[in-house]
């Protein structure tokens, strides 16, 4: 049965349901999902690029799987993420601010989280609120921590979430790729470059991301 539930920017409410519980399914290889609806990967690249170019503060959150050079593949992904960020910086217009904020580990760092320089999966909303982030992409975050964060973000902020997942994707993101690789990250960068100048950014003050 196809679910009528849609994974949309919040704030949904304090404890939003897990999208999986609402019937949202994960994409098959070669597919992605947009707002909980399975879509061809092609379309997802376009949509992700558009969301990044529209956002006032488009942000990439690399996680421990790419921040730490566990192996050659991780280091290559880190290089691709830096490339994506550089492209994003080049392609946004004055008034937009691309950011690259790390999630170095998953410890619940109370009370010391510095939202200017890092994001923590146990209270990701602090970093999003502080930096007024209205579109973000998770990459290199272990799935269980990504799910936790994505749900908190959907519950308490109006931020659009993208997951570049190396496994099967994330229902709780508004847009999710699966089987993330260096090639896919580079392809997203290319799409952003291609769409540069064709997307109207939301330059008015970003919708308050705090839940009222």
């Amino acid at each position: 049965m196809i679910s009528k539930y849609r994974v949309l920017p919040g704030p949904e409410h304090f404890l939003p349901p897990a999208a999986a519980r609402m019937g949202i399914q994960l994409p098959n290889p070669g597919e992605a999902h947009i707002n909980g609806v399975i879509a061809p990967e092609e379309k997802a690249y376009e949509e992700a690029a558009r969301q990044f170019l529209m956002a006032k503060v488009p942000t990439i959150f690399p996680g421990p799987l790419v921040l730490w050079a566990w192996n050659e593949k991780a280091a290559k992904k880190a290089t691709a993420i830096r490339h994506l960020y550089n492209i994003l910086k080049e392609c946004v217009q004055p008034g937009q601010k691309a950011m690259l904020i790390p999630m170095p580990d998953y410890r619940p760092k109370y009370p010391k989280i510095n939202p200017e320089v890092e994001i923590n999966p146990n209270h990701p909303n602090l970093t999003i609120w502080h930096n007024k982030i209205d579109c973000c992409m998770f990459v290199g975050v272990h799935c269980h921590q990504a799910n936790l964060s994505l749900k908190i973000i959907r519950g308490g902020t109006s931020c659009y979430t993208i997951a570049m997942c190396a496994q099967a994707g994330h229902e709780d993101a508004m847009l999710s790729f699966r089987d993330a690789s260096v090639e896919k990250i580079m392809r997203l960068a290319d799409t952003i470059k291609r769409l540069k100048g064709t997307v109207q950014p939301r330059l008015e003050t970003a919708k308050s991301s705090a839940s009222s």
Partner: protein, 302 residues
Amino acid sequence: MSKERIQISEDLYDIMPSDYQDLVKSATYGKEDRGWKDIGSSKELIEQHSLCAGCPESMAFRYILASLPNPEDTVMVGSTGCTSLVFPMVAVHNIHSLFGNQNAIASGLKRALSVRFPGRVKDVVVLAGDGATVDIGLDMTLQAWFRQEKFTTICFDNELYANTGGQESGLMQKGFVAKMAPVGKLFDKVRLPEIARESGCHYVVNCTVSKPSLVEKVIRNAVHVAREIGPTYLQLYTPCILEIGKNSMEGLQEMRDSEKPTERFAYKEYVSEPAKQLLAELAAKDKERKAAAKQLASQASA
């Protein structure tokens, strides 16, 4: 494992918070003779914590983390209490257990690690307060010792339940009146070091944390003995200055006062015969290594 295995990806290095950069650049992972003297000249494995100003427990944490012989391959198991406020700021693998369960968790963990990593030394260190070790978790504590589980149990003894307002604990001294124990303790402090010895611990020490060099020595001994022979137990006095009515500056003096020869934290040590032999061997090897290094240095300078 050495610190070479945990490098930050070059392309994302600049965005990492400075505490992580420092951990990679100047922490003492992999250093053979790491110890409390590294404090101040290298990155400590504890970041800012949320303990009270002047809390002796924070001193104990710093000395212990500086002294663990193998931090990159150590897993610490904590329990509910003030220590659990600190573990999120500690750059050593750690697990938070249910209140009192710490020694049971550590038993399973140690066994699993030896199956999963048969060729590698993996140390397990339990660090919990007196409530978790002696009251709520006494069963788990003792059973782990009876089974001769090869890990170290450290008890931060502040002689009451500090972070819930000062209730009576088994390790509280007789007659002590706390905020939530107004009648005063009616019976003696549980003699856990003696119980540990009788329960099969091979290395037992009861002391305060006023002297960093002493803490370093007992931590290294306890971990080495646990690694090779069997369970070890350290009971360290870390007074709760708030609950005993002291000021932030007075924690150190309180420990010094409590370690005098007639006091309850006078240094007490028990070492089993196999542990004595092991420690003697380690000391001899250490001496040999230092002499060789000295000789090498003098040759290089000549």
